[in-house]
């Protein structure tokens, strides 16, 4: 890898350097996702041939008037949303793993998942008559609130150990997630069985019944957060060399870390509003990306995002079509197909 030439982009005050393989890897992942998208849009209760899908996507009028409605209104937004959710989670996971230097870290660690779960489960089980549009707001609010609490709890004044420290963030995160998890499982254990089941469904994570309005809610966040994540990736490299080195390189450690953490939280929190808790993507997408492009974060963050997008769109496609009319939530399919694939990649590389 060290022999690979680099691509360097220099703008006025900004420069970025990445491995020459990265555009190809990103292109490959995007192409793969697009192929899945065509299948995703084409297959279902109402089958449409791949060529007709492409024609409809290009806006050509076809003989069957239903094509336009099924493709553009029902299936396309869902497929795009799945990709976006995966991309956000992948990037979020890559940032948090870089920040904590822990391979087990995932967006869960920021408290977003625990907070969103507790808030959403409360709403579903104890306030079943609340209007539907409360759910995304509640989940988002719960996630962000708990992430803030986590940061405040982990913060410590003083000189030598001042401010934040990754290990304290991890440990406080464990405590906070456990306490909230206790509340969630209390609700699941004692709540009305019918509502409990729909809460479990939400917790499993699905992009079922989503539309363009969800896409337009998610897209602006990604347009803002993903470039910022790419910009922050350089600092992750320095942070990964260890705190002393990072400080020696002149990083304003606390500010940079807070900024990166905020990005990771924002990316994960926005996904829970549209898709519930899709676990595992944030954990494995960065590992997959590391296998593909190495561990320099300029390449890792976008690759993790694209890998995450590919995983979720694939999982949603499989979950929707494998045993119709039952839909298996994407969050579950990811674990079931993602794990063997992930282990295979990990071990194949290990042997080489």
């Amino acid at each position: 890898m060290s022999a690979s030439p680099w691509i360097v982009v220099r703008a006025n005050k900004f420069s970025i350097r990445m491995d020459r393989r990265i555009p190809f890897v990103l292109g490959g992942l995007l192409l793969a996702a697009f192929l899945v998208l065509i299948l995703h849009v084409g297959i279902g209760e109402y089958n449409i041939a791949p060529l007709d899908v492409v024609n409809t996507l290009l806006g050509r009028e076809l003989g069957d008037k239903n094509y336009h409605f099924v493709v553009m209104e029902l299936r396309l937004p869902r497929a795009i949303l799945a990709w976006l959710v995966g991309a956000a989670l992948g990037a979020s996971g890559a940032i948090i793993q870089g920040l904590t230097r822990n391979p087990l870290a995932s967006p869960d660690l920021t408290g977003v998942t625990a907070g969103a779960s507790a808030a959403a489960v409360t709403l579903i089980i104890f306030l079943p008559h609340a209007p539907d549009y409360w759910l995304p707001i509640t989940a988002f609010g719960g996630g962000v609130f708990v992430a803030l609490m986590l940061y405040l709890f982990a913060w410590r004044g003083g000189t030598s150990a001042g401010g934040d420290s990754p290990i304290r963030l991890i440990l406080v995160g464990i405590g906070l997630s456990a306490a909230l998890g206790a509340f969630t499982s209390f609700a699941l254990t004692f709540g009305d069985l019918w509502h409990v089941q729909s809460a479990i469904m939400w917790l499993a994570g699905t992009v079922y019944a989503t539309g363009w309005n969800d896409v337009s809610a998610l897209l602006p966040w990604l347009i803002v957060c993903l470039p910022l994540a790419l910009y922050g990736a350089r600092d992750l490299n320095a942070l990964n060399l260890g705190e002393d080195v990072a400080q020696g390189l002149g990083l304003r450690l606390i500010l940079k870390r807070a900024f990166l953490l905020l990005l990771s939280v924002a990316l994960a929190a926005i996904t829970v509003t549209v898709a519930g808790i899709i676990g595992f993507v944030g954990l494995i997408a960065p590992h997959l990306a590391r296998r593909l492009v190495g561990s320099m974060h300029e390449g890792l963050v976008p690759t993790a995002a694209f890998a995450g997008g590919f995983l979720v769109i694939l999982a949603d496609f499989v979950g929707r079509t494998i045993s119709p009319p039952t839909e298996i939530p994407a969050g579950i399919v990811i674990a079931i197909i993602g794990v063997p694939f992930f282990l295979y990649l990990l071990w194949k590389r290990e042997k080489a």
């Binding site: 822990n102 391979p103 087990l104 870290a105 709890f153 982990a154 410590r156 003083g158 030598s160 150990a161 420290s165 290990i167 304290r168 991890i170 440990l171 406080v172 464990i174 405590g175 906070l176 456990a178 306490a179 909230l180 998890g181 206790a182 509340f183 499982s185 209390f186 699941l188 254990t189 069985l193 409990v196 089941q197 479990i200 469904m201 917790l203 499993a204 676990g279 595992f280 954990l283 494995i284 590992h287 039952t326 298996i328 939530p329 969050g331 579950i332 990811i334 674990a335 079931i336 794990v339 063997p340 992930f342 282990l343 990990l346 071990w347 290990e350 042997k351």
Partner: protein, 344 residues
């Protein structure tokens, strides 16, 4: 995380007066918790009656019956399971050198949960002893799979590969469990109390069947204290000191499987103890596992007994599953300790 502090290990640490002195105190705390656990509950029983029921049992006395058939098995379950989970967690964190590691990382809890939920779904099993068998087999098989996956490739069972294999397989199994519960309401209703983890309603015979496993696992773990300490400093150091790390890891993992597997069989998946107790212990006992392991056992047992007690006194005459109580009490306490003690 412990690398910086490992240099503190000296011979002095092995018999540190504070650590020696605190030990009887912890034992006293456990005994106190145990007495309270037998005395308080839906009906409060005087301590003298508790002692009578043990030393001068009278089958006609209701209180004696309550103690012998309900409270005593329950207390013993809590002590054994708490100690086992504390020790298993300490070993896992030493073995993987990851502060996020816990017995669940070998997949034992998720494997046990899937086996029980699958058993309820497919074979309609519906009694605690059968749950226990399914849980133990499921947990053990999963742990073996994780260990096998983690040992493939170069370098044998490295902490990184074990950690990743465990996390990945646990997610897979939990997802399968969720999938069953989502589409099968009967299974959900049957097992959701078991899934929350509880030490209530375990028959004495079941407790006695599990006890030899748990005690054996504890002894094995305590014997290995020195080896685990060395291993927790890093494989290179351990190898340099002449340790055969392959065997150490295998035995340590074996102890975890026996301890956590029997614990989950007896009480269902009680999370959190295995994760936080070792952290709390290391905050005062340092990194010498000859101390960390016994203290983890004591503190784990005390914590589970107290959580169980609070869970049934707080909402009398109802009961809160202890798995929920451990996290509800332990979470805030743990956050407080971390803020206070973790200075890095």
């Amino acid at each position: 995380m412990d690398i910086a502090r490992t240099s503190n290990i000296t011979k002095r640490n092995a018999l540190h007066p504070l650590l020696v002195g605190a030990f009887p105190l912890c034992i006293a705390a456990l005994l106190l918790a145990v007495m309270a656990s037998i005395a308080f509950g839906a009906a409060d029983i005087h301590v003298s009656t508790v002692l009578d029921s043990i030393f001068a049992f009278d089958a006609a006395n209701t209180n004696h019956l309550i103690i012998q058939t309900l409270r005593l098995p329950r207390m013993i379950t809590a002590v054994l399971v708490g100690a086992a989970l504390g020790v298993a967690g300490a070993i896992m964190q030493g073995l993987t050198r990851n502060p996020l590691a816990d017995p669940g990382l070998l997949g034992i809890e998720s494997g046990a949960a899937l086996a029980v939920v699958g058993g309820v779904f497919l074979f309609r099993i519906n009694s605690l002893p059968v749950y226990a068998v399914f849980a133990f087999i499921g947990g053990t098989l999963t742990a073996l799979t994780v260990y096998a996956l983690g040992s493939m490739g170069r370098g044998g069972a490295t902490p990184f590969k074990l950690t990743i294999a465990g996390a990945a397989l646990s997610s897979l199994l939990s997802s399968l469990t969720t999938a069953i519960l989502m589409f099968n309401q009967r299974s959900l209703e049957e097992v959701r109390f078991w899934l929350a983890g509880s030490v209530a309603g375990r028959e004495m015979s079941l407790v006695l069947e599990a006890a030899p496993f748990l005690l054996g696992g504890l002894v094995l773990a305590f014997i290995m204290g020195r080896q685990i300490t060395t291993l927790s400093m890093g494989e290179d150091i351990a190898r340099g000191l002449g340790q055969s790390i392959g065997w150490t890891k295998l035995f340590a993992a074996g102890a975890v499987v026996v301890l956590a597997g029997s614990a989950v069989a007896l009480a269902g998946p009680i999370g959190f103890i295995g994760l936080i107790i070792p952290h709390v212990v290391r905050m005062f006992a340092g990194v010498d596992y000859r101390w960390v392991l016994p203290y983890s056992a004591l503190l784990g047992a005390t914590f589970l007994v107290v959580s169980d007690l609070v869970g049934r006194v707080l909402v009398r005459p109802l009961e809160m599953p202890v798995g929920i109580m451990t996290a509800a009490i332990g979470g805030p306490v743990f956050i407080y300790l971390v803020r206070w003690k973790v200075k890095r």
